[in-house]
């Protein structure tokens, strides 16, 4: 297998390109997701999209339009609920996302004819990326990158210090809403390659790795997408040579980097603790 170049296959070239773009995008938006403690919302949003994905298969509508509308609606619902104080936001978000996921499961159990498509929605399918998908994912990703760049100062201020951001004239409610919409679109763009079950890992792990390497926010915003893109590419090669699902290898690649960094950190702390005693 090692003698074959993966680049000979068009599906691999397309998949690699999408994995790099989606990895970078998830890594970039993931910085804000982690710092806003919204990892659970990211995870929930990806599950909510499953209902939309299944519906778009059933109604033979375009995945990006059907699942996209569903994703934006779920995002708006989650945003509305998370602002209410009478019930725990996390519990309410859990209700929305699992209900949406359950709608998908209910439809799947009624129509048993599209198991393969459902598997792709759940776990990602690199083989299913058409040239049209490639353009759509690339355009969506660039649009999200650009939007996040334009509102970067509002996002930083309202993430770090929402109360004072409001006092400085930032419409924090609108920024929160815009952010969750952009997150819903990111999850949508990533679903084909990562699957709804594993998207959250692509969003959360790269910024967590990047946080080991820098304490500066601007550097974090640069490092996290690079790590996301590298893990996306690395995972694609592993997937090709080991014949394992690409979504799984992308997540496992980033998880391995995370575990290695954590181990190095623990060992360093132990050495730092032992060293002064040895000096005595």
């Amino acid at each position: 297998m090692l003698s074959i170049s993966p680049f000979e296959y068009e599906f691999f070239r397309r998949g690699l390109f999408v994995a790099i773009i989606v990895g970078a995008l998830c890594g970039y938006i993931g910085v804000y997701v982690v710092l806003r403690r919204m990892s659970y919302i990211g995870h929930g949003l990806s599950h909510a999209i499953f209902g939309g994905a299944v519906l778009s298969y059933v109604t033979h509508s375009n995945f990006f339009i059907g699942a996209g509308l569903w994703a934006l609606l779920s995002g708006a619902l989650i945003h509305g609920i998370s602002r209410r104080r009478w019930v725990g936001a996390d519990a309410a978000i859990g209700v929305v996302t699992t209900t949406s996921f359950a709608i998908g499961v209910a439809i799947v159990s009624t129509y048993r004819s599209f198991t393969r498509n459902i598997e792709a929605a759940l776990f990602g399918n690199i083989l299913g990326i058409t040239p049209q998908d490639l353009w759509i994912v690339t355009s969506i990703s660039l649009a999200v990158f650009l939007s996040l760049f334009i509102i970067r100062r509002q996002l930083l201020f309202s993430t770090f210090d929402p109360e004072v951001a409001h006092a400085y004239g930032i419409a924090t409610g609108w920024i929160d809403f815009a952010f969750i919409m952009l997150l819903a679109i990111t999850v949508l763009a990533s679903t084909q390659i990562m699957g709804v079950t594993l998207v959250a890992a692509a969003i959360v792990i790269p910024p967590v790795i990047a946080r080991y390497l820098t304490k500066r926010f601007q550097t974090l915003l640069l490092l996290s997408p690079i790590i996301g893109a590298l893990c996306g590419a690395g995972g694609m090669f592993l997937s090709f040579y080991l014949d394992i699902s690409s979504a799984a290898t992308i997540v496992l690649t980033s998880a391995t980097v995370f575990i290695l960094l954590e181990t190095v950190l623990i060992l360093r702390q132990k050495v730092a603790r032992v060293a002064p005693q040895q000096l005595r």
Binding site: R153, L156, F160, E163, A167, Y168, I170, K215, F217, L220
Partner: protein, 287 residues
């Protein structure tokens, strides 16, 4: 003791015999920076401040004291326009601007509300203060960099710009957030408990710096818990427990009856060497 006493001269006051400055008094016919008229406000159905009438004059230095949950932070946030009003109105520089962006007003929140694990450096925090100017795609200008460096020097943070905010001492951390408020060149700064959790030395540094910027004409409103510290350093005090109980110079306001009404607790006030000292009356021990 009443807030609405006419005050007539405008020069910065000379130092009081025991170190407290005489309060700055407004010129006749001057417009207050902030004017709250019969304001009630709070969140949801909860009224945190009630029937507040208060004026803050240009260059004034005011401390708001009162019990926990007595509405001190809500009062500051009401001035900022961040608290829904139930009654009354807030006028800033002669214009009703409640809820809209306030120009030239800096705000320093309680440090305990800050996430100290947030990956952010001293410089990045201070530059946030230029948000009103650089809010979309504008790049940070060379003059902003120069302003930042000058401010770092002024706040004794020279060389610490690239440090993570957690790596600083308590006093330096307070200085960083003060820097964020100052970089927009405000004429009014609101500080929520700027001395909470600081040691005596750091508190001293903070108050000296605040006096310095106040002398440059910036009006300052702070909330504080340490009454002795307020009495020793600040020229004007507002006692607040949902309502304004009293307002005036510390030596006039800090009386047993006012403090009892403010804190619902028994307090002793006495003069020592010309300084006001406030203490809690000890509980009678069981026989």
């Amino acid at each position: 003791m009443n807030p609405h006493n006419p005050r007539s001269h405008s020069a910065h006051g000379s130092l009081h015999p025991h170190g407290v400055e005489e309060p700055l008094l407004p010129r006749a016919g001057a417009t207050p920076l902030v004017e709250l008229s019969e304001v009630s406000g709070g969140y949801g159905n909860l009224t945190s401040i009630e029937d507040i009438s208060l004026k803050i004059w240009p260059g004034q230095f005011v401390a708001v004291v009162g019990p926990n949950g007595g509405g001190k932070t809500t009062l500051l946030r009401t001035i900022l326009g961040a608290v829904p009003l139930m009654r009354g109105n807030v006028i800033i520089r002669g214009r009703e601007t409640h809820g809209s962006t306030l120009e030239r007003v800096g705000y320093v929140p309680q440090l305990e509300t800050i996430d100290w694990n947030f990956p952010i450096t001293v410089e990045e925090v201070i530059l946030m203060g230029l948000f009103r100017k650089n809010h979309w795609l504008t790049k940070i200008q060379k003059e902003d960099r120069e302003k930042l460096n000058a401010l770092l020097d002024r706040l004794n943070l020279t060389g610490l710009g690239k440090r993570h905010i957690r790596e600083l001492s308590g006093g330096q951390q307070q200085a960083v957030f003060l820097g964020r408020a100052l970089i927009g060149e405000p004429d009014l700064i609101l500080l929520d408990e700027p001395t909470a959790g600081l040691d005596i030395r750091s508190r001293d540094d903070v108050i000296h710096f605040l006096h310095e910027i106040n002398h440059q004409g910036v009006a300052i409103v702070i909330t504080a818990h340490d009454l002795n510290w307020v009495a020793a350093h600040l020229p004007w005090v507002v006692c607040l427990n949902h309502r304004i109980i009293a307002e005036g110079k510390p030596q006039e306001v800090f009386t047993s009856s006012v403090l009892q009404e403010t804190y619902r607790g028994d307090m002793v006030v006495f003069l020592h060497d010309g300084m006001i000292m406030i203490g809690e009356r000890p509980h009678a021990s069981e026989p």
